[in-house]
């Protein structure tokens, strides 16, 4: 006997969007000994929601773990590089800031923001962006040229990608099928539950087929075919903190250089995303239906495109929140089946990735021990809650006075955990740190300072320094970043030379 007796022998994945094929690829990569059959069921009739998708740096770890070559991946998905997100009109109309990836300053330990805050009042410290290598390079529409092994603290730099989510799913489908994942074209209509414990016993397809598995992964989208419709897990609604409930999306032609960053522009009833891909730009307007209708939102979106629209605008409805459990009995939910957080900080794919990581850290056997389920739900739900707080901060910390949505958000009550964070920051300019947090101090600082939340006091370690010395320190940091930024190449040129996708 070389295997434990209760091992999972089969996994059925329901739904073939980004979440489904990411799950299939990880299963195929991890379960390589052929003792577990992996099946993915998707219907070619059902479209997937994925449009232009923006990501955050951990996506690189996901691709690396699968052994995916970066250039091949970018070619296959019409992908581009992403160094951060530009936020326009969020704090107030006419104001903009960058949330760059990476770490500000030249060393992870140094609290460059405290020194910057101290001098800001004196007006000679520039903007906080000037201290981010990522932001300085991104603003020039360039990316770092790391191939030449330039000297300097390049670990302060980080990047992710923009890509076409449908093409990424197709790319991972080829990867998965080549490694033994069986794809079934069919529409799941129902799940049979086992008498007694309510575990899923089998899936029934529209054409009458019946599919059995030990373990199910629900990637069926908003409706949550297994996690909600079959298992009645329940949904925690976050609309009172995140009032937007619809989005209208449309791709358009590229015009000008492809920016190596996502742009998010606040509008009177929500915000508009702009995601540059190689062959087009993905656009969308996330809005609150109480403040604007579908037609007006579509018109606003169409009036604010870089180039000609390439399709009819498509409206999506959603309820921000998440399931009360992401793992219930013998089923784990991923992607939209698990919950929905608007893509303001590009976290949709990351949440799928993290749930998969937690799942494989706690991979069950057929006893489905409640200890594992509880641990998984504890860590996976915490990821959602943490990102929720970060997204809510963008709405809360605004000084816009031009529309009711923004006044409401400024005055709304916020989650206790976020209120605590804000209070802590306002006191000393320090950022609360929880060990498992995805968004660490640099991310929170970019948004807090970007949206003009100013602390009452500075860090005593900085206060004791003489302003002239601080000024010299900061000038030196800006100069070093400027020199490092010379080791960069045009984003468009790099794409053209290394990872050009096939023409649209």
């Amino acid at each position: 006997m070389t295997h434990a007796p209760d091992r999972i022998r089969s996994i059925a994945i329901v739904g073939g969007g980004t979440a489904g094929w990411m799950a299939a690829a990880v299963c195929a990569r991890k379960l390589t000994d052929g003792s577990c059959a992996i099946t993915l069921i998707e219907s070619s009739e059902i479209g997937t929601v994925g449009v232009g998708e923006a990501t955050i740096p951990p996506i690189r770890l996901f691709n690396q773990a699968l052994g995916i070559d970066e250039n091949e991946f970018l070619r296959a998905t019409q992908g581009t590089f992403k160094l951060g997100i530009e936020f326009q009109d969020w704090s107030r109309v006419g104001h903009r800031y960058m949330h760059p990836f990476g770490i500000p300053g030249l060393s992870p330990e140094a609290t460059v923001h405290q020194r910057w805050l101290r001098l800001r009042e004196r007006g000679d410290a520039g903007t906080f962006e000037d201290y981010s290598l990522n932001a300085v390079i991104a603003r020039r529409d360039r990316i770092a040229n790391l191939a030449g092994n330039p000297g300097g603290p390049w670990h302060m730099y980080a990047y992710a990608y923009h890509f076409d989510a449908g093409l990424y799913a197709a790319f991972l489908r080829r990867y998965s099928e080549a490694r033994g994942v069986q794809r079934i074209d069919g529409k799941v209509v129902d799940a049979e539950l086992r008498a007694g414990d309510g575990f899923i016993e089998a899936l029934r397809l529209a054409d009458g087929r019946r599919i059995e598995a030990d373990f199910y992964i629900d990637c069926s989208g908003f409706r949550g075919l297994l996690i909600e419709q079959a298992l009645k897990t329940g949904y925690e609604d976050w609309t009172h903190w995140l009032p937007c409930d619809r989005a209208v999306a449309v791709p358009c032609e590229n015009a000008g250089a492809r920016t190596p960053y996502t742009r998010s522009t606040a509008r009177s009833a929500g915000w508009q995303w702009r995601i540059p891909l190689q062959h087009r730009i993905g656009n969308g307007y996330v809005f609150c239906s109480r403040h604007i209708g579908d037609d007006e939102a579509s018109a606003t979106l169409l009036a604010n495109l870089d180039g000609r629209a390439l399709a009819e605008p498509r409206v999506l409805r959603f309820t921000t929140g998440r399931r009360r459990k992401l793992w219930n009995r013998n089923c784990v939910a991923l992607g939209l089946a698990a919950g929905f957080l608007e893509p303001l900080e590009s976290t949709s794919i990351h949440l799928i990735q993290k749930s998969l990581t937690h799942l494989f850290n706690l991979f069950p056997d057929r006893r489905f021990s409640p200890v594992l389920l509880d641990e998984f739900n504890r860590v996976a739900l915490a990821e959602y809650d943490h990102i929720r707080d970060f997204v809510v901060l963008h709405y809360k910390a605004n000084s816009r006075d031009d529309a009711p949505l923004w006044r409401d958000c400024r005055n709304m009550s916020i989650p206790e955990s976020l209120a605590h964070r804000l209070e802590f920051f306002r006191n000393s300019g320090r950022v609360l740190r929880y060990p498992a947090d995805l968004f660490a101090a640099p991310n929170w600082l970019a948004v807090l300072l970007g949206q003009e939340v100013w602390p009452d006091h500075g860090d005593p370690l900085v206060l004791r320094h003489d302003p002239d010395r601080l000024r010299a320190d900061l000038a030196e940091i800006r100069a070093t970043i400027g020199r490092m930024a010379e080791f960069s190449v045009s984003h468009d040129d790099y794409l053209a030379h290394h990872c050009r996708g096939s023409p649209a």
């Binding site: 070389t2 991890k30 000994d33 200890v371 320090r430």
Partner: protein, 497 residues
């Protein structure tokens, strides 16, 4: 500079903890802060030996202390971990070493592969896969290598110190950084009548020590601040410890020995010029005099002086930072895991990361208290595990410990391990995954299953990898110098005058 909230700091103490705090703060804050240490007679370290953990390396770097000189001046020896005897049952023995145990295979943590082989009847001692344990078993030591390809990079180390000499070295470092030493007994703690923060300490004889911030390593300020103890006496039996210096033995192991005892535990800490025997016990199980007699009996005529008694807290203060006072009570906790200096050190570095922005800084204090309570509570769980996971029933102490339900956080951790061999540990915990694995398995907690993903690796690969690893560690351990010879080569301490 008068508005600077840290322009004056008074530290109450006298032992290693207070000097460690003083030296660190003076080093970081420099001339912007006037730091004074009030040594209270009788409150200095009464333990004779201190065992440390590897986090102390960071502190030595920060303070710019030279390792060899420090060891010479403190009769110090190297420490690879601790050998635990008679804990799970009388006659049991396990080693808890610094550094990693085994290595991941196909991205699955080591213990699952180890458990998989055990389930097939191929049990190996966990210590075969710990470089620290392999070297310790042979009484050997060298500084770990930095090349990650060598198995000799897979361990870390700390030190055993003479407690008084260590305090003296830290004191000298603090004084070099401008700290002022004072001595006296506190007659009165003067509070601000409205806001309740400490304004000054009035000493016997009438002199008055005023400061913006106070740090207490002794408990002297607790009554004035109204500090309550979170009571852990249901789980942690020891509230006393006695220390006794004894003559050296021929062997000089690079580890301490901790032996469970009918009324607590006894330990042997090796120093260059002597060994220190400690006896920690619960006062309801044995009287102080009887404990002293037992400690002397264990010494078998080698005692160099008389046992010294110190009290332990079976609990932690409910708050660690109150108003303008920071409490550093690490040395008052059961030292079974040698956590005292480490707790002082993390307490200070956390304070430096949350320095008060004005005389009172409640948001920072609240966050400091949250993080510190978490750290102490997780350490409590590790201590409780030693007393709870045992089959001993030879005395009232062990029967009580075995039968008391453990804290919920420990119950969850044990359940996850029992269920599937998994261990999860937060970043800021005293003990990492490998440390927990040593204690869990050493005390006889055996999981019913392991990570199913371990089965994906072929059995031949797993067997080969584990065999190679233990053989390579064993072969490399044999090449290391003898611990005593290594110390001698680096310059041993002068013999006692």
């Amino acid at each position: 500079m008068s508005a600077f909230p840290l322009s004056s700091i008074v530290i109450v103490g006298g032992g290693s903890s207070s000097w460690l705090a003083a030296a660190t703060i003076a080093r970081v804050l420099g001339a912007s802060s006037q730091v004074r240490v009030l040594e209270i007679p009788g409150k200095s370290d009464t333990r004779s030996g201190i065992a440390s953990v590897p986090s102390l390396h960071r502190l030595l770097r920060l303070l710019g202390l030279d390792e060899s000189a420090l060891m010479r001046n403190t009769q110090a020896t190297f420490r690879l971990g601790a050998s635990f005897h008679d804990w799970g049952a009388i006659g049991d023995r396990y080693f808890s070493g610094f550094g990693s145990i085994g290595a991941k295979l196909d991205a699955v943590p080591f213990q699952h592969h180890w458990l998989r082989l055990a389930a097939l009847g191929e049990s190996h001692p966990l210590e075969d896969f710990s470089m620290a344990a392999q070297a310790a078993r042979l009484g050997k030591f060298a500084i770990p290598q930095s090349d990650p390809r060598s198995v000799l990079s897979l361990y870390s180390y700390a030190w055993h110190f003479d407690a008084r000499l260590l305090a003296a070295q830290l004191r000298a470092s603090a004084l070099r950084n401008g700290v002022v030493a004072l001595s006296g007994e506190i007659a009165e703690v003067e509070l601000d009548p409205e806001l309740g923060f400490v304004r000054a300490l009035v000493l016997q004889g009438g002199s008055r020590l005023e400061a913006k911030q106070f740090i207490d390593c002794t408990g002297a300020l607790w009554p004035a601040l109204g500090i309550d103890l979170e009571d852990w006496s249901a789980w942690l039996p020891c509230d006393r410890i006695q220390s006794l210096r004894c003559a050296s033995r021929p062997e000089l192991p690079p580890y301490s020995e901790v032996t469970a005892h009918a009324h607590g535990w006894q330990s042997v800490t090796p120093l260059q010029n002597c060994i220190v025997r400690d006896f920690a016990y619960g006062s309801e199980f044995i009287g102080d005099e009887a404990a002293a007699a037992q400690l002397l009996e264990a010494a078998r005529g080698t005692a160099l002086d008389a046992p010294i008694l110190r009290r332990l807290n079976r609990g932690r203060p409910k708050q660690f930072w109150v108003k303008n006072c920071l409490l550093l009570p690490g040395e008052t906790l059961d030292p079974l895991e040698s956590s005292g200096l480490h707790l002082t050190q993390t307490g200070i570095s956390r304070y430096l990361a949350h320095l008060p922005v004005s005389v009172l800084s409640p948001a920072d204090a609240a966050e400091y208290n949250r993080l510190t309570a978490h750290e102490y509570d997780r350490l409590r769980d590790l201590l409780v595990l030693h007393y709870y996971a045992t089959r001993r029933d030879d005395s009232a102490l062990w029967t009580k410990c075995r039968e008391t339900a453990v804290p919920e956080s420990l119950r969850q951790r044990m359940a996850l391990f029992a269920d599937s061999g998994r261990i999860t540990v937060g970043e800021d915990e005293f003990c990492g995954i490998d440390g927990w694995l040593s204690v869990l398995s050493g005390q006889g907690v055996s999981p019913g299953a392991y990570d199913p993903l371990a089965d994906v690796t072929s059995l031949a690969t797993t067997r080969g990898a584990l065999t190679r690893m233990s053989q390579e560690m064993q072969a490399n351990a044999a090449t290391l110098p003898d611990h005593r010879a290594f110390i001698a080569a680096r310059g041993a301490s002068a013999p006692p005058a």
